[in-house]
C-alpha cells in the first residue's frame, strides 16, 4: 500500500453510483479514481496502481468475472464485487476467481465501508500467520492449539480447530464453501458442503454461538461463511 491516503478504483457504468461513491468514500478520506468499463478498469489499474478495487459485475463491455481474472494477472490488491441479490452463483464464481468480498446491491454505505476496511487491513498485514487471534472474548492460539471463550478452554477436534482458525484468519471476509472445503478437507471434497454444515453446527454449539443471532460465525446463504469482525 502506498503511504498515506488509500486509493480506491470504482468500476461501474452507472454515473449516479460512481458519483455517490465518490462523495461518500471521499468523505471517509479515500482517494477515488473511476472507470466506466472493463477495459478502462484494466488500463487505469495498470497506470494508477489503486490499493483496492470496487467492481460492478454488470459491465457493458466485458463480463465482470473475466475482468476479475484479468485484474488478477496485474495485481493482488483486494477486489470487492458489487452484485444483485439472487445472483448467488455469480458471487461464488467471482469469489472463486479471486475477488475478496462482495456487497449486495442495493447496499448501505456502512456495509461497504466495513468490507473495504477489512480488505485493506488484511492486505496491509504481513503475509505470515499470527500466533494468536482474539475477538469478543474468543481467542485462538495456533502454536498451542488452544481455544478459549471468556477464559474457559473449549475442546475442539482437529478439523474444528482448523476451520475456526481459517475463519478467524480471514475475519470479516466471506469465504466460499468451496474455498473452505479445499483448505480443510482437500480438493477432493470441494463439493461436500454437508461436511461443512455439520462442522459449523458443532463449532457454533461449542462456542455457544446462536445461529439465529450469530456472534462469531455468520452464514452467507448460497455463498459461504464469514467470521464476524
Amino acid at each position: 500500500m502506498t503511504a498515506g491516503i488509500p486509493r480506491i478504483l470504482v468500476v461501474d457504468d452507472e454515473v449516479p453510483i460512481r458519483k455517490f461513491l465518490q462523495i461518500s468514500l471521499g468523505a471517509q478520506n479515500f482517494e477515488i479514481i473511476e472507470a466506466s468499463n472493463g477495459y478502462e478498469a484494466l488500463r487505469i489499474t495498470e497506470a494508477h496502481r489503486p490499493d483496492l478495487i470496487v467492481l460492478d459485475l454488470g459491465l457493458p463491455d466485458v463480463d465482470g468475472k473475466d475482468v476479475i481474472a484479468a485484474l488478477r494477472a496485474l495485481t493482488v490488491v483486494p477486489i470487492i464485487v458489487l452484485s444483485v441479490r439472487s445472483g448467488e452463483e455469480e458471487k461464488v464464481s467471482a469469489l472463486d476467481r479471486g475477488a475478496n468480498d462482495y456487497v449486495t446491491k442495493p447496499f448501505g454505505i456502512a456495509e461497504l465501508m466495513a468490507r473495504i476496511r477489512v480488505a485493506l487491513r488484511a492486505a496491509g498485514e504481513a503475509t505470515g500467520e499470527q500466533a494468536e487471534y482474539a475477538v469478543r472474548g474468543l481467542s485462538l492460539n495456533l502454536a498451542r492449539h488452544e481455544v478459549t471463550t471468556e477464559g474457559r478452554p473449549v475442546k475442539l477436534s482437529r478439523k474444528e480447530f482448523d476451520l475456526l482458525a481459517l475463519l478467524m484468519k480471514h475475519a470479516g471476509r466471506v469465504l466460499t464453501h468451496k474455498q473452505i472445503l479445499r483448505e480443510i478437507w482437500g480438493p477432493v471434497h470441494e463439493q461436500d458442503t454437508q461436511y461443512l454444515r455439520v462442522y459449523i453446527g458443532q463449532l457454533r454449539h461449542k462456542l455457544g454461538d446462536d445461529p439465529a443471532e450469530p456472534r462469531f460465525i455468520a452464514n452467507e446463504p448460497g455463498v459461504g461463511y464469514r467470521f464476524l469482525d
Partner: protein, 895 residues
C-alpha cells in the same frame, strides 16, 4: 307481402360473394372443332390486355394456324411443363407457373383435356379449378361434345364415343359462357379450305362427324347449353336480389338405380331432367340384397361415381319393403319426381315380383313417377359383358346337387312307407334348405334337379323321364311350382337378412366408433383412436394428419419408414386446402398410395386429413367401405372440431385470466411504486429547500424516511422479479442440506428494520434443523412471511416461528397475533394481487408476497397453507416439506 321472400336467399348471396373471392371463369363454347373458339378467346384477351389487364397464356394450341398464332403475339406465354410418358414427350399446362405468376387473367385452351399420367390432376378442368381458387380469372374453350350429361345424346347422334368428358358442375360454376356459333355450311367450307385442324389419323372418322346433320344437332345442343346458362343466370340474379315474382317451390328429383346395365344412363337422364326443371337431384341406390357379381358391383359403383361427378347427391336405400322405404325417404326430402328404369331382369316371371315402377305408381300419390325406357345397348358390349358375368359368377353347383342326392337317398328309404306324392316333400325340404343357405340361383338349380330326379326315380315308369300316370304328372307339376315359389321366398328372406346384417354391422361399427372417440381426451388421443378404429373397420392402413399453424403433420398412424413421400404430401395438402378427397382413386394425384379425405365439418376450415391405404396395392375400396369411411370421417371431424373448440375456450379463459392479472398488476404497480416515490421526492425536496429551516432531528427523520421508503421500493421490485422468474420457469432450485437456523437468521438480518418492533420467537425442534432445500429461495419465503407477519400484527406482539418434524412432514409455521385471515379466504390469499382487490386502504404491500411464497415453496417440493392458529388468534402459515433424514456424515476426525 310475406317478409320471408323479401330477403335475398343466403345461398344465392353466398354464391355471389364466393365468386368474388374466386377467379372468374369464362368458357368459349363451340359446337365442334373449327368454329373459332381459340381465335375468339385470344381476340377478347387482347382487348382486355389493351385495357391494361395483366393477361398471360397458360396454354394455347394454335394447331399451326397462322391467323391464330398471330393473335398470340404480344401476349406473354408461360413456359409449359414438359412431361414424358411411355417414351414420348408432352407439353402440359404448368399449373405451378400459373399460380406463381399470379396474373389477373390466364388463358387455358381445351378445358376437357386429359393430362398425362403423373400430372398433379387427372383432368385439365381440375387445374383450372385450382387456378380459380387462387383468385385468378381464366378464359377457356370447350366443345359441347365433352359435356358429361350430353354424352349419351351425342353418342347417339354422332356414333362417336367421347372419352374426354367434363362434369356439368364445371359449366354450372362458370361465370360466363360465350357461344361461338358458326353455321354448319360455313364450317364445312372452312374444313374443305383446310382451316380446321384435324389430326392425320382421325381424318377418316371425321368424315362422318362433320356431316351436316351432325353439325346441326351439335349446334343445337351447344345453343341449349348456353341458353340454359342464361336462364340460370337470370334466376340467380333474381334470388340474389330477392325479386319474388315467379317463386316456384324447389323441385327435387330422385333417380332410382340398381346394379343393372342402364344405371349410368339413368343417372345421365336424371341429370338432364333435373337441369331442365332447375331442381336438385338425388341418386338413390335401391337394393334388395348385395350385388352378386363383380360386374354388377362395378356397374353400380361407377354409376354412383358418375352421379357425384355430375353434381347429384347419392344415397342407399334398403329394407324389407322397398316401396315403403323409397316413399318415406321421398316425403322426408320433399322429392317431387322419381325416375325409375323399366325392369329388364331375366326370369322375372319366376320371381312373382311386381316391378318397382308399377308398385311406385300404385302407391305414390303426389309424386310424379317417370319410367325411363331401356336404352339401346350396343350388342357387342352386351355379349362381352354376359361372357364376363358367366365367367365370374360362382353358381354353387355343389350344394344343390349334393342336397338333391341326399334327398333322393332319403326318399328311396322312405319310398316303402310313403306314397309317391308325399315323397316330393322330402325334395321340397332340400330346396328350402338350399334357398336359405345359398340364395335364389342355387334354389332354382335344386328345384330343377330335384324335379328331374324325382321324375326319374319315383314316378311310373321308373328310371325314365316319362310320366304315364296323370296323378304323377300333377304331383310333378305342383312340386315344381311349390319348389320355385318357396325357394324364391326363402331366398328373399335370406337376402334381406344379409342386408339387415350388413346394415347392422355398419351401424354397430359407427356406434362403436363414436363411442370410442367420445372417450378420447385431447387432440392426439383422438387422432390415435380415429386412426386405430378406421384401420380396423376397413382392414386398411390409416394415418391422421393434423394441421399445426396451417402445416400438416402426422398425428397418428404409420406413414412408413420414410414418412410421406412428396406426392403423398402434396395430395394430403391438396385434400386439406381444397377440402376435397385426393390421392388414390380420385382425380387428383391418383398415383399416390393414399386416399386422403379432409377432416372438416362442411363450410369450415378442415383441421387435418385422414389417409387410408391398403397394403395390397391393387385392392380398391368398395362403395360400401367408402361410404362407411365417409361416415366415420364425418364423426371424426365433429369430434376434432369439438376438441379444438375446447382448446380454444381454454385459451380464451387463459387470455381473460391474463388480462385480469395484467390490470391488477398495473394498479399494483401504480400504487406500490408511486407511494414510496411520493415520500422520497417529498422528503428530499424538503431537505434541499433552503427556505425551510430544519432542526437536526427533523433532518434525520426525513432522511430515515427516504431510506426506509427506498428499501420498500427495493422489496417490491425484488418481488416483481421473483414473480417473473417463477412465471418463466427460470427458477432452478439448488438443493442441498441447509441449516434452517442459518436461513432464519439471514431472513431476520435482512428484515431487521421491519422487525424492529416485532420480536420473533424462534423454536427449532432439535433434530429438525437440517432441510434438503435451496437456502436462498427458502430464505426469501421466510423473509416474506416474517415481513407479512410484522405488517399485519400490532407493535410488540410476538411473532412465532416453529420448526418441527411431524410424521412424514418437516413443518415450518409462522404465526402472528394480528387480525388473522378469515377461514373462507385462506386459499385466496395465495392468488396474485388478492390484497389489492380488498381495497386501497390496506397496509402497504404488493399482494405478491404470498403467491410468490407458494410458487417458491412448490418449486422446492413443498406446500404452503394458511391454517388455524394455535392460540386461536392471528394468522398462521404452515410450510410442509417431505421429511428426509439428514445423511449421516462420516466425520473421520479425532478430538
Amino acid at each position: 307481402m310475406n317478409r320471408e321472400y323479401d330477403r335475398p336467399s343466403p345461398d344465392a348471396l353466398l354464391h355471389e360473394v364466393g365468386n368474388s373471392a374466386r377467379g372468374r371463369l369464362k368458357i368459349f363454347l363451340g359446337a365442334s372443332p373449327g368454329v373459332g373458339k381459340t381465335y375468339e378467346m385470344l381476340s377478347e384477351a387482347r382487348e382486355r390486355q389493351a385495357q391494361g389487364l395483366d393477361v398471360v397464356i397458360g396454354i394455347v394450341e394454335t394447331h399451326g394456324r397462322d391467323e391464330t398464332r398471330r393473335l398470340t403475339e404480344g401476349l406473354p406465354a408461360l413456359p409449359r411443363r414438359r412431361m414424358t410418358y411411355q417414351g414420348r414427350a408432352f407439353d402440359e399446362l404448368d399449373i405451378d407457373a400459373v399460380l406463381e405468376r399470379r396474373s389477373a387473367l390466364v388463358l387455358v385452351d381445351e378445358l376437357a383435356h386429359t393430362n398425362i399420367p403423373g400430372s398433379r390432376h387427372e383432368k385439365r378442368y381440375q387445374d383450372v379449378e385450382e387456378i380459380l381458387a387462387a383468385g385468378i380469372d381464366v378464359y377457356t374453350t370447350l366443345n359441347v361434345q365433352h359435356v358429361e350429361s350430353l354424352n349419351d345424346v351425342i353418342n347417339q347422334i354422332t356414333r362417336v364415343k367421347v372419352q374426354e368428358t367434363l362434369p356439368d358442375s364445371v359449366i354450372e360454376k362458370a361465370d360466363e359462357i360465350e357461344l361461338i356459333d358458326l353455321p354448319p355450311d360455313d364450317l364445312i367450307q372452312r374444313l374443305h379450305e383446310g382451316k380446321v385442324y384435324v389430326p392425320e389419323q382421325a381424318k377418316r372418322a371425321t368424315q362422318h362427324f362433320f356431316g351436316r346433320g351432325n353439325l346441326t344437332a351439335l349446334r343445337e345442343l351447344a345453343m341449349r347449353v348456353a341458353a340454359d346458362r342464361v336462364d340460370a343466370d337470370v334466376l340467380g340474379y333474381r334470388q340474389a336480389r330477392a325479386i319474388v315474382e315467379p317463386w316456384a317451390t324447389r323441385e327435387r328429383l330422385m333417380v332410382l338405380i340398381g346394379d343393372s346395365r342402364d344405371a349410368e344412363r339413368l343417372v345421365r337422364l336424371g341429370k338432364r331432367l333435373a337441369e331442365r326443371h332447375e331442381s336438385t337431384w338425388i341418386v338413390a341406390h335401391v337394393m334388395r340384397g348385395e350385388s352378386e357379381t363383380h360386374l354388377e358391383k362395378g356397374r353400380l359403383q361407377s354409376a354412383l361415381e358418375l352421379a357425384e361427378r355430375l353434381g347429384g347427391e347419392t344415397v342407399s336405400l334398403t329394407g324389407f319393403d322397398l316401396v315403403e322405404e323409397i316413399l318415406a325417404f321421398s316425403r322426408e326430402r320433399n322429392v317431387t319426381q322419381i325416375v325409375v328404369g323399366r325392369s329388364r331382369r331375366r326370369l322375372r316371371w319366376l320371381t312373382f315380383r311386381t316391378s318397382l315402377a308399377s308398385a311406385l305408381l300404385r302407391h305414390a300419390s303426389n309424386i310424379e313417377i317417370t319410367i325411363a325406357g331401356c336404352g339401346d345397348v350396343q350388342p357387342q358390349e352386351e355379349s362381352a359383358s354376359v361372357a364376363i358375368e358367366i365367367a365370374r359368377s360362382e353358381i354353387p353347383f355343389l350344394l344343390p346337387l349334393g342336397t338333391t342326392g341326399l334327398a333322393a337317398g332319403l326318399a328311396w328309404l322312405l319310398s316303402q312307407v310313403l306314397t309317391t306324392a308325399n315323397l316330393s316333400l322330402v325334395f321340397l325340404v332340400g330346396v328350402l334348405f338350399v334357398a336359405v343357405r345359398s340364395g335364389l340361383r342355387a334354389s332354382i338349380v335344386t328345384a330343377v334337379t330335384s324335379f328331374l330326379v324325382f321324375n326319374f326315380l319315383f314316378t311310373e315308369p321308373r328310371y325314365t323321364f316319362d310320366v304315364t300316370q296323370r296323378e304323377d304328372l300333377l304331383t310333378l307339376l305342383f312340386f315344381l311350382l311349390v319348389a320355385t315359389v318357396t325357394g324364391n321366398l326363402a331366398a328373399r328372406v335370406r337376402k334381406q337378412m344379409d342386408v339387415l346384417r350388413a346394415n347392422q354391422r355398419r351401424n354397430s361399427l359407427l356406434f362403436e366408433f363414436s363411442r370410442r372417440i367420445a372417450g378420447a381426451v385431447g387432440r392426439d388421443d383422438l387422432a390415435w383412436s380415429v386412426c386405430e378404429y378406421v384401420g380396423q373397420s376397413l382392414g386398411a392402413e390409416t394415418i391422421v394428419l393434423l394441421a399445426d399453424s396451417d402445416k400438416l403433420a402426422v398425428a397418428a398412424g404409420d406413414a412408413g419408414t420414410h414418412g410421406l413421400i412428396e406426392v403423398e404430401r402434396a395430395a394430403a395438402d391438396w385434400a386439406f386446402e381444397r377440402r376435397d378427397a385426393a390421392g388414390r382413386g380420385t382425380g387428383t394425384l391418383p398415383n399416390c398410395r393414399w386416399y386422403f379425405l379432409p377432416l372438416g365439418v362442411s363450410g369450415k376450415k378442415a383441421c387435418g386429413v385422414l389417409g387410408v391405404t391398403y397394403a395390397d396395392r391393387k385392392r380398391m375400396m368398395s362403395g360400401d367401405q367408402r361410404r362407411l369411411l365417409v361416415a366415420m370421417r364425418d364423426q371424426a371431424a365433429v369430434a376434432f372440431e369439438r376438441a379444438m373448440l375446447v382448446e380454444e375456450r381454454e385459451r380464451a379463459e387463459l387470455r381473460s385470466e391474463t388480462e385480469k392479472l395484467r390490470s391488477a398488476l398495473l394498479s399494483s404497480v401504480s400504487h406500490d411504486l408511486r407511494t414510496p416515490l411520493v415520500s422520497i421526492i417529498g422528503a428530499t425536496t424538503t431537505l434541499l429547500d433552503a427556505d425551510v429551516k430544519l432542526g437536526g432531528e427533523q433532518r434525520r427523520e426525513l432522511t430515515e424516511q427516504v431510506l426506509s421508503e427506498a428499501e420498500r421500493l427495493n422489496r417490491f421490485v425484488q418481488n416483481l422479479l421473483d414473480m417473473t422468474r417463477l412465471g418463466y420457469g427460470a427458477l432452478k432450485p439448488r438443493l442441498e442440506w441447509v441449516d434452517l437456523r442459518d436461513v432464519v437468521a439471514d431472513a431476520r438480518q435482512r428484515l431487521r428494520d421491519a422487525l424492529r418492533r416485532h420480536p420473533v420467537q424462534v423454536q427449532i425442534e432439535p433434530g429438525s434443523e437440517m432441510l434438503f432445500t435451496d437456502a436462498v429461495l427458502l430464505g426469501q419465503v421466510i423473509a416474506n412471511l416474517l415481513d407479512n407477519a410484522a405488517k399485519y400484527s400490532p407493535p410488540d406482539a410476538v411473532i412465532q416461528l416453529r420448526v418441527q418434524h411431524r410424521g412424514r412432514d418437516h413443518v415450518i409455521e409462522i404465526e402472528d397475533d394480528g387480525a388473522g385471515i378469515p377461514r373462507a379466504e385462506r386459499e385466496y390469499v395465495f392468488d396474485m394481487f388478492y390484497r389489492v382487490r380488498a381495497g386501497d386502504q390496506q397496509v402497504a404491500g404488493t399482494g405478491l408476497g404470498l403467491p410468490i411464497c407458494r410458487g417458491l415453496v412448490e418449486s422446492l417440493g413443498g406446500t404452503i397453507h394458511a391454517v388455524n392458529p394455535r392460540d386461536g388468534k392471528g394468522a398462521c402459515l404452515r410450510l410442509q416439506f417431505p421429511w428426509r433424514r439428514p445423511e449421516p456424515v462420516n466425520l473421520e476426525d479425532e478430538s
